[in-house]
């Protein structure tokens, strides 16, 4: 059975209100990354945000609604414009390709209110940033925020090559003493052991980049005595495709077939059921859903649930996790 669920008792989505925007500028940075700037259609300022915040961009791709989170990289003090930088992912599910190929200046779109899952800890004596590739974007906003208040920061930025070094010129021009850039194609590696050794007491470490880099930085920091509370990371998992499966939504009294290319959350939304979400990447915990009954295997892909919760079969994060088996009933 498909259709809308006008009588759904599911909770209303946090941050459901959308900002109606127009694309005000599109700038190609290099072969992979393009910057998109937005202004509000009503001409008002955007809501304030803090460095590290993301917005969920709503893309109307024909019949299909795509919702992808992107870090806000513009200056938090400049609220006439929001800017994101999108890296083209040819193997992805199509959101970034849609942005690169279909979106034109003047197009109308919708953005979510900003949400920050990667905040600066302003008690820090120093902020040490480690970025890999497109992982530079949240730091661009954080650097502007810190520059405005005279914050102490240092950036170590690893890129594939000079051609693909998004914002390297800007960073090295404005902040030559705070920015170090490393190019993979020149075999330049961040000397992490040395970097983490001798950082002043009260330093906070932030890492955003590929999963391998995040794991490497967190592991090295822990091994050398950095406490978890001083090590922050931003990692969104894009939903992975998988085998189609059926889900019963108990409260909404609906059943939905989750397609191979679609996430469980997207399938629930397709029925018109208002399910909560914030990051859509397995990080924030907002979409945590109770499982009422199941017979099969959970494919947990989030990094929100604890291991014992994953094993219990009583919880699922529908933004990134899937299921294979006969029966899955959710309290939604």
């Amino acid at each position: 059975m498909t259709g809308t669920a006008p009588n759904s008792t599911a909770p209303k989505t946090v941050g459901a209100a959308k900002l109606a925007v127009r694309v005000s500028a599109i700038t190609t940075l290099n072969a992979l990354v393009t910057r998109f700037e937005f202004q509000r259609i009503d001409g008002a300022d955007f809501p304030t945000f803090s460095g590290g915040a993301h917005t969920v961009v709503e893309m109307m791709d024909g019949e299909k609604k795509r919702l992808n989170p992107y870090s806000l990289m513009s200056d938090p003090a400049e609220l006439s414009t929001y800017a994101i930088s999108v890296r083209r992912d040819d193997q992805g599910r199509g959101g970034s390709l849609f942005m690169h190929q279909k979106i034109k200046v003047g197009d109308e779109m919708a953005l979510s209110y900003p949400v920050n899952l990667f905040v600066l800890d302003l008690r820090a004596r120093k902020h040490l940033f480690v970025a890999g590739g497109i992982g530079i974007t949240p730091f661009l906003a954080q650097i502007k925020q810190l520059e405005a208040i005279g914050g102490n920061w240092e950036l170590h930025y690893s890129c594939r090559s000079p051609d693909l070094g998004s914002y390297v010129d800007e960073l090295t021009e404005y902040y030559p003493h705070a920015t170090s850039v490393y190019y993979d194609d020149k075999k330049q590696l961040i000397d992490l052991d040395n970097l983490l050794d001798g950082q002043p007491f009260g330093t906070h470490l932030y890492v955003c980049g590929p999963k391998g880099m995040i794991d490497w930085v967190r592991k090295t920091a822990t091994a050398t005595g950095w406490p978890q509370a001083h090590v922050h990371h931003e990692e969104f998992f894009a939903p992975q495709p998988g085998r189609p499966f059926a889900v019963r939504l108990k409260k909404s009294e609906l059943t939905v077939e989750v397609g191979a290319q679609e996430s469980l959350l997207e399938a629930i939304e397709r029925l018109g059921v208002d399910a909560p979400y914030l990051c859509r990447g397995g990080a924030c915990g907002q979409c945590e859903t109770d499982v009422l009954d199941s017979d099969g295997t959970f494919l947990h892909r989030d990094h929100w649930l604890e291991d014992d919760e994953k094993e219990s079969g009583e919880k699922i994060m529908p933004c990134v996790s899937r299921f294979e088996g006969k029966i899955l009933v959710l309290n939604r």
Partner: protein, 200 residues
Amino acid sequence: MSTFEFPPSIRSRPVYCVLEARPGKAHLMIADAEGAEALIDLALRAPELMAKAHVIYIPKATDFGAALNALNPAQYYEGPSYSAAVSRIKRVFSDASMGLQIYLSGTEGLMGQALSEAMQAGYDHTAIQTEHRGSLARRMQCVHCKGITEDVSNDPFQCSHCGLNLFVRDHYSRRLAAFQGVCIDAEEPGNVPPSKELYS
């Protein structure tokens, strides 16, 4: 035995652990009185820590100093009081690097104050280990006059600054490193229950 099992209380009340060795570039150990026993136990379990350890010890009326010194820490300091030691503690934090592990043991007043210093130096309190040993006496702040009374072991007690009769609460300020004392006879001055020893 210098250990005590605190009964469950409100969320504000600090809880303590048993010190465990953690990886670190350097180890700062601050203890008072019977807190020395927790450091000695830690050194027995993880003797390798001591070569990179700085021990700051306030014996109060105990004599664990020689035993602590015999653990051969890289640096050993013994001071007559927390007030005498605090300038050294501040200096250690201002010179320290990330990778320093912090171990606190002894009375609640000592651990709370050292933890507060680390917080002021920008360090997260959740990353600091604390093991209670010895006296159950508390550092109390009078919520009325704001004066601090050290080593309060009876409830109710008289504020050493303004003289009010104060009820010993489990409500704790991490910033002040003090429990809160609230006037017990405000509505009926003079009607003060008999004072008894904490946890007796």
